[in-house]
Symmetry: C2
Subunit: 290 residues, 2 copies
């Protein structure tokens, strides 16, 4: 099978690498606007050649759109204009806007909207890794709007990556993604800024910063090119959850101000329940990423 990967970085590159290794894909045509990334992708074997968009999508079975969500919205209608028998899938972190954009496109049924729940705080071809997706979940949204045969091809691709498929509509996806992924990035960015604002003596951070701190600020290294468009697209859901999060932080603040340590303990005990949720997830073999 030949595939075309548009945007051959962390996600597109990791998919291409793994599918070739697994033998599902024999040839990868890459599309990459960033010249340095294009060279690295070839050097790392993520793509067999780098071509202009219109050349790359011809004579391929599956087209994988793995660019920031705002770029995906611009490119998807044009790609659907040019395809014949190909199936197109995206891998973006928001779904509702994209699906709406191509709602009435005559080739809508050749498109399958997906979000593999894996990623890291790094980006670009050098961040791509083999077998990263195995054991994690992928969300396929609005499956009734895709051809059965197109859907099957994409499901088979994700099963080859070792992923577990979860179905929902694009609105539900965006709501849940705000809670289990997007807010984590905002808290992490804000925590980094909090510490950078106050801890001017950076040497002290170097020496004392602990694994707990590193764990909570890890996502603060994430690329704005990817995240600004996600926050734009999922603005309302993210605002809802951000308001709730500020409310929850104010409860901790109020406990400290009023020295109400009994309620502080209750808040912590409630938070401890997240451990049970995450342990159950591990036990059901659904340890996912992003």
């Amino acid at each position: 099978m030949k595939i075309c990967v548009i945007g051959i970085g962390l996600i597109g590159g990791s998919i291409a690498l793994t599918l070739k290794k697994k033998g599902l894909v024999s040839y990868v045509k890459g599309v990459e606007a960033n010249q340095q990334h294009a060279e690295r992708a070839l050097a790392l074997g993520l793509a067999d050649e780098i071509l202009p968009l219109e050349d790359a999508i011809h004579e391929t079975d599956i087209i994988i759109l793995s660019v920031p969500v705002s770029a995906a919205e611009n490119m998807l209608p044009k790609i659907l204009d040019h395809i014949t028998t190909q199936v197109v899938m995206d891998v973006g972190s928001t779904k509702y806007g994209l699906v709406k954009t191509v709602k009435d496109h005559p080739n809508r049924k050749r498109f399958v909207a997906t979000h593999p729940m894996w990623g890291t705080e790094y980006s670009g071809p050098d961040a791509a890794t083999l077998n990263s997706f195995s054991g994690k979940a992928v969300v396929v949204t609005d499956r009734e709007d895709s051809d059965a045969e197109a859907l099957l091809k994409i499901e088979n691709l994700y099963k080859t990556l070792g992923m577990h498929i979860v179905y929902m509509n694009s609105e539900a996806h965006d709501l849940h993604a705000a809670y289990v992924s997007h807010i984590s990035h905002i808290t992490s960015f804000a925590l980094a800024n909090t510490v950078l604002e106050k801890e001017r003596e950076e040497d002290t951070i170097f020496q004392l910063a602990s694994a707990g701190f590193e764990s909570t600020v890890r996502l603060a290294k994430s690329n704005p090119d990817m995240w600004v468009p996600i926050f734009m697209q999922n603005r309302e859901n993210v605002l809802d959850v951000l308001n709730e999060h500020i409310t929850q932080l104010r409860k901790f603040k109020s406990c400290l101000e009023k020295e109400n340590y009994e309620y502080l303990r209750e808040l912590i005990e409630k938070a401890n329940k997240i451990g049970k949720v995450l342990i159950e997830k591990q036990n059901t073999g659904l340890k996912n990423k992003v």
Copy 2:
């Protein structure tokens, strides 16, 4: 050398286990109020025997106080009342209150105030591990208030654990700890509560929760018995940093409300700088924990 470990859980147990393995310590007398923990500590070889406090401190060289910071404040003066040639050290996450409590104690100079910057979200003897401290930093505060010989013994203990020693006064420690450790716990507790509040359908969390989410809520599993006293003791510093953190989150909120995506990008780019700080720390061999 014989040591007495008061509170033989995650930290006390890990220290005892590692020092025995390294050959610095031949015998560990444990003090443990929790009967189940006492049994587990013996079964796991963290202690050679469990004794009442007064019996345990006799005929030992070093007494390690590894109980929640509020309990440490209660116990330290009584321990100092009973010692002769022993050195006492604590391992608590706040220092100013404890040091103040024993400021005028006749045996103050036999006490060394320390905070090894390692820990996990787990607690109790079963969480204890070998060699956890290696390569991380330990803060020793107010070293001028300890006997030179007592200080040397404790420094040697931490060097045997493979730790890098950082000196500062207890007030500076508590301020920095609020920024590089305590606030991370509050944001993590509050994030867990945010998601638990809104995501009533727990199955959806199970399936979609990503490594990013897990990373930011990991600390939310931390024990309130340990953390309520830390927040009590470091209340003012934690309130300062929490206020700053809410201010930083409000900037993200304002960007989304006003659709000011240029400033949103600036905030994220600023946050990205934390990556540089953490990478430099790794390169200087100071990858620490807690």
